[in-house]
């Protein structure tokens, strides 16, 4: 899953999902949700936190230019270097450039959605640089050569037996099918890599504008390793990750882990401001921050669609989604899956490439109820469905003339009472020739697109009659 997809065929991707994927995904999502419910129940201020988080995220997006300028100035003042990347290719190019300048041969990486988005691993490997995923789940799927099935537990679809076999083949070690032993093997293997790597690559959960601070959250400690041990740290971060100040951060951090896994806080939260400043200290000598746009600035012009950029990547909407839980992460065709993937991918890639995704939903609304930053996901899904039909252009209606004519006729028929009454009298007669009992088995084109699949109910048009003659309850109107 390293390249930007040209077309996402959700229908095809979700057709032959192996049975173990929904089973494993549902076990993970069930546990995360159960833990989350317990956390929410013990916090009376939960709804206030969600509202504050939503307000802060939207406020930041509405002033994104100012906060990014502030951020860039503060990172520079702290001794870091800021690079602006308009798209995925520019971001990849910048990372490769930095790696070349430092003669990098081995890079270690923290799980990061932005680097997945730009397909960084592939580009580094092509340039002859070894790049190693260090989150245990990401490490496993990198060995397996597949994509993530869940945002938090990317290798949840693999059994311990499959992972043991993978370790035997790829690492050449005798690996028993035991999670604790397998984790031990991964620890020993990756520890050597951490100590030897010349570049650490990360994303960020947040960037604080007022001080130029980068925040990463992990449970394993791999984020700390990658940003502490190599002499060079390169972070690729979407421009939507900025927050105004440390006060804002309190709100978002209180929501993030609770929503994601039901932890109160993740095990490690690092706050890094620039490279190391003192001799004898750890941390990178050089810190580069690559700010990735890749379509986000364009998404901002859509007043409803821009709310997708409030996302803090907790994965909670995946955990509640009945569609996601049955197809898993692969079906969504890009680095981001589930309900938020269905509103993010079409806006970044265009509805031409990812137009199936907004339809991959029952619109049940569970995602909006749990979202910690209150993204109106079902509203955006509907909005994007309209854009799929009308095109991505903003401004005037761009529906085909036949659709507009049909809509106009419909408005006329339902909006003028005498015309409606006339229609209800004429239609049963007009359709009598097509009628077979209670059903119309075939309609002439273009309406035959319905009847090819299922019969059409015969026009009864008795509602007004029935309404006028209906027995009144209790004898009163």
């Amino acid at each position: 899953m390293s390249q930007t997809p040209v077309s996402i065929n959700f229908g095809a991707y979700s057709e032959h999902v192996p049975a173990n994927i929904p089973a494993a995904v549902q076990q993970a999502t069930g546990r995360f949700l159960g833990n989350r419910q317990a956390r929410v129940a013990e916090m009376p201020q939960w709804e206030a936190l969600r509202q504050a988080a939503s307000d802060i995220r939207l406020h930041t997006l509405m002033h994104l230019d100012a906060y990014l300028e502030k951020l860039a100035a503060q990172v520079t003042a702290a001794g870091g270097q800021v690079h602006w990347a308009a798209d995925a290719a520019a971001a990849r190019q910048t990372v490769l450039e930095i790696a070349r300048q430092h003669n990098v041969r081995q890079a270690v990486k923290v799980k990061s959605m932005a680097t997945e988005e730009i397909g960084l691993n592939h580009a580094l490997q092509e340039a002859g640089i070894e790049v190693l995923e260090t989150d245990l789940g990401e490490f496993i799927i990198q060995l397996a050569g597949t994509g993530p099935s869940h945002i938090i537990v990317p290798a949840v679809h693999l059994t311990k037996e499959e992972i043991a076999e993978l370790f035997r083949q790829k690492l050449g070690v005798d690996a028993p099918a035991d999670p604790i032993k397998l984790t031990e093997i991964a620890r020993a293997t990756l520890r050597q890599k951490f100590l030897a790597a010349d570049m650490g690559i990360s994303g960020a959960n947040f960037l604080v504008a007022e001080t130029g601070t980068l925040i990463t959250v992990t449970n394993e400690g791999n984020g700390r390793m990658c940003t502490t041990l190599p002499d060079l740290h390169v972070a690729v971060v979407g421009i939507d990750k900025v927050v105004p100040d440390w006060e804002s951060l309190t709100v978002l951090l209180k929501l993030l882990a609770r929503s994601a896994t039901g932890q109160k806080l993740s095990t490690y939260t690092s706050f890094i401001t620039g490279p190391r400043r003192a001799e004898g200290e750890f941390g990178p000598k050089e810190f580069h921050l690559i700010l990735l746009d890749n379509g986000r600035s364009r998404v901002l012009q859509d007043p409803l669609g821009r709310q997708a950029l409030k996302c803090i990547r907790c994965g909670c909407c995946l955990n509640v989604c009945p569609v996601y839980k049955n197809v898993g992460g692969f079906a969504y065709g890009w680095f981001i899956s589930g309900p938020v993937g269905s509103i993010f991918s079409p806006q970044i890639l265009g509805v031409g490439a990812a137009g199936q995704l907004p339809f991959a939903s029952s619109l049940c609304g569970a995602c909006a109820e749990v979202c910690p930053v209150k993204i109106p996901i079902p509203d955006i899904l509907l909005h994007l469905r309209r854009r799929v039909v009308e095109g991505d252009a903003f401004g005037g209606p761009s529906a085909p003339a036949t659709i507009r004519l049909g809509a106009w006729l419909g408005t006329l028929a339902f909006g003028v009472p005498w015309l409606y009454r006339l229609g209800t009298r004429l239609l049963p007669g007009l359709t009598a020739i097509l009628r077979r009992g209670e059903w119309i088995p075939a309609l002439p084109p273009p309406a035959n697109r319905w009847t090819k699949v299922r019969p059409f109910p015969a026009f009864a048009a008795r509602f007004r009659q029935w309404w006028g003659k209906r027995p009144l309850r209790g004898g009163k109107p």
Partner: protein, 211 residues
Amino acid sequence: MTTNPILDNIRRSLGRTAGAPLADRPPIVAARTPGSQAAEIALLIEEIGKLSGTARQMTRAEIPAALQALVAEQDVHRAALWRTAGLESLGIAAALQALGVEVVPPNADKHLLASCDLGVTEADFALPETGTLGLLSTPEKPRAVSLLPRVHLALVSPAALRADLLQVFAEARQHDYLILITGPSRTADIELTVTLGVHGPKALYAWVVSG
């Protein structure tokens, strides 16, 4: 005026002009109200315990015996210690050496630190609600000591207690590094089986020292 095309695109999308004024940031949610110091310490210990950490309260006099038990339990031969006034006054280095443990300086080479069985630090902040320890980083108290050794022992003074992240951040924002540690390193990436110590320390000890 900027010539940054990304910022220009953002402004075009939002209908803003360069240098347009910032509206006030929306309000945040009020900080948590702390309990009594005793209650806060009890809560901290309880929460760290829930995370499979080992937390307890002890007096200065109890430290040598506790260290002896820890060294035996975790089979400690080599340790790295922060060079802080607090740890020095508690006599941790001397006590470890008396137990036959080799003590290496905190800013030792990363390979040497990675070979340590124990890293000893002193929490700058402690958050009872979440069972979290907050550590700043300087050459005398570098970040790698709480990361590379197999076991992490953090001494916690009651003065480090903070009610909420808000108080921690008010102080930490001026520093170039902060790490919040909530339990030992963990993963559930293989069949959702919780496993400790995947990359960071496998065991976390937090001793609240009072009196």
